[in-house]
């Protein structure tokens, strides 16, 4: 954990004397706990600064459990992981201080959907995360500078220098408020564009309100100069009234602007989709239709082209994008498509369930392909394929309606049925049964759970 720039997130540790602040801090900074504790006590003796610092950390820093929970919850948002990286910097409305736990969030979201709470060093290599991290340190350094300045002013005042506090405090309030409002600009813009979840927006609003309140208060105190409450209240009332009036006037215009923007964006998305569909149809369907017109003489070719195009279009239209590809059923369907293209007879695949490919499944795909080839070649009509697969078990049935054949009459030297189907299945611990009558032939391939284990053990 200490070898890489990725520090453990700042969280109150369970190894505690009072609230686990010191040991958490030590873990985060990579310093010995003892040093931190001694430093804290010394700081506490220096006018109570240590006590204030301790109390502040106690309030602002979550316990390790809380951090873990928050971490585990955040990445659950499935909407554009790249976006949640940006929004990760909006924790609960954190008040004027960009609380250190922010890092926890960011690290967690950068890791995406894996949902593990413990930070891992490998994450540090992730470039975007790194960039965010450095930016965040920038904010904290700024804050630190501000605090140092305040401390300097206080010390100067203690030393007898006359500091115009009456001007400085409102000015600081204005600066602080403005920076709070501005700080969220990059975050909300990114969040607002794609991630419209209201939860984050609530935090944004709270911040905006806090920033606004600070700025208004600061300006008022500055303007009223004396700082008398009565005057301030009056001015506040007046300015609120003015602001309300401005909002009232501008609101319809702003709403219209917003709606136009939304409409334009939706239009752009539609346009992009349309262009994509047009491009796909041009590359596939139009080309095939042209081919069909040129081959109109050959019924066989036309049927084959139409089948192949239908299959392709179906795959494009109805495929579930969330599904993993390359599974067992996909491979069987691909084999069926290949046989269909090769021989021109339709091969209908119905699949129930699915399984990941193993060596045994691979053998089964090969055996199924061979069986489909035979069925299409000798059956001479459409071929029905049914596959049922679960984790430990797989069955494939290939049925045609041809004249059928007698397995014992197939010559010994014909490799197709005996080797490629029956032999192959047996070698991998499965079984193949061929049932042929005058009304058709059905090949049944089967892998019991034990068969698959055995096959894997041997390989």
């Amino acid at each position: 954990m200490t070898t890489v720039p990725a520090r453990p997130p700042l969280a109150r540790s369970s190894d505690r004397v009072i609230a686990g602040v010191c040991s958490g801090l030590a873990l985060h900074l990579g310093w010995p706990v003892k040093n931190i504790r001694v430093g804290m006590v010394l700081a506490a003796l220096a006018g109570g600064a240590g006590l204030v610092f301790y109390a502040w950390l106690w309030i602002m820093v979550p316990t390790a459990d809380e951090a873990a929970r928050r971490n585990a919850r955040r990445p659950a948002s499935s909407i554009a992981p790249a976006v949640s990286q940006g929004t990760g910097t909006i924790p609960a409305p954190a008040g004027p201080v960009p609380a250190p736990p922010v890092q926890v969030d960011d690290a967690g979201t950068a890791q995406g959907a894996s949902g593990t709470a413990a930070p891992s060093p490998g994450r540090a290599a992730d470039p975007p995360w790194f960039r965010w991290q450095s930016m965040k340190y920038g904010k904290e350094i700024l804050l630190g500078c501000g605090l140092l300045l305040v401390a300097g002013i206080l010390i100067a005042q203690l030393l007898g220098v006359d500091v115009p506090l009456g001007t400085l405090i409102p000015a600081a309030a204005v600066l602080g408020g403005a920076s709070i409002a501005w700080m969220q600009l990059d975050e909300t813009r990114r969040a607002g564009l794609v991630d419209k979840t209201k939860a984050d927006q609530a935090g944004g609003w709270a911040r905006l309100a806090a920033g606004l309140a600070l700025v208004v208060a600061g300006v008022l105190v500055m303007v009223s100069g004396s700082g008398s409450w009565e005057q301030t209240w009056l001015a506040l009332l007046a300015s609120v009234a003015v602001l309300g009036g401005v909002v009232l006037v501008l609101l319809p215009w702003a709403l219209k602007f917003w709606r136009d923007l939304e409409g334009e964006r939706a239009g752009r998305i539609r346009e992009t989709e349309r262009a994509e569909i047009a491009a796909h149809l041009h590359d596939s369907v139009l080309q095939t239709l042209a081919l069909i017109q040129r081959r109109a003489g050959s019924e066989h070719d036309v049927v084959r082209l139409a089948r192949a195009q239908e299959r392709e279009l179906r795959g494009w239209l109805f495929q579930d994008p969330g599904r993993e590809s390359g599974q067992f059923s996909d491979r069987i369907k691909a084999a069926a498509a290949e046989v269909e293209d090769l021989l021109g007879n339709p091969v209908e695949v119905v699949s129930v369930g699915d399984a990941a490919m193993t060596e045994a499944h691979e053998a089964m795909v090969q055996a199924s392909r061979e069986a489909m080839l035979n069925a299409s070649r000798h059956g001479g009509g459409s071929v029905s394929v049914y596959l049922e697969a679960s984790d430990g078990q797989a069955e494939v049935f290939i049925k045609d309606r041809g004249p059928g054949f007698d397995l014992s009459e197939v010559p010994e030297d014909r490799m197709g049925v005996r080797e490629s189907i029956i032999g192959r299945m047996k070698r991998h611990g499965g079984s193949a049964t061929i049932l042929s009558t005058g009304e058709g032939t059905e090949v049944r391939l089967r892998f019991p759970a034990a068969g698959i284990d055995n096959a894997e053990g041997k390989s």
Binding site: E310, E348, V350, V352, Y386, E388, S390, E442
Partner: protein
Amino acid sequence: MNPSQGEPAPGNGTVRVVIVDDHAIFRSGLKADLDASIQVVGEAATVEQAVAVIAEQRPDVVLLDVHLPGGLGGGGREVIAGSAALLATTRFLALSVSDAAEDVVAVIRAGARGYVTKTISGAEITDAVFRVAGGDAVFSPRLAGFVLDAFGTAPADIADDELDKLSARELEVMRLIARGYSYKEVAKELFISIKTVETHVSAVLRKLQLSSRHELTKWAAERRLL
């Protein structure tokens, strides 16, 4: 795609049929393909036309495209809902180029007695029309596959709600249909009569239409169905 190849049609009389499809080319092609014993008494291209024609003609069977313009956008489902009063005498056979699960199951749950894809031959459609007119369900191998996928392939326990799972026998029948067996072949394989096969298939259809089972809902939701 031929669940009942080579079997005699159950009724000897003619069957009155309305074809609902928004493609005129397809309607005329289908009309030409259908057997002479099937009398096409009406055609419709939109949801509103379909509901009106069905109410006026009161056909035995409606060949219904799943995707239709007009109405509230519900397509074939909406036509069935609009003709709910006639469901006792008029049977709906869904006919579509789409074999997406949501289309198939939505129209079956609306009340259709079967589902076939448009690529099947005229003889097969004719056969399916007679079967539906006779009160049976028409399951293509693909629909059987969807049913198995949705209900799971484990047989029902006694404790389960009877609507929520398929019995062992129903599972066997569905598996054989999915494997491309005709009703006759299923009957032979399981040593039961064709009538019994039809009873099982109708029972499965009923479960598919009525089940409110948790997993079916989940399964449908995963495919953006309900």
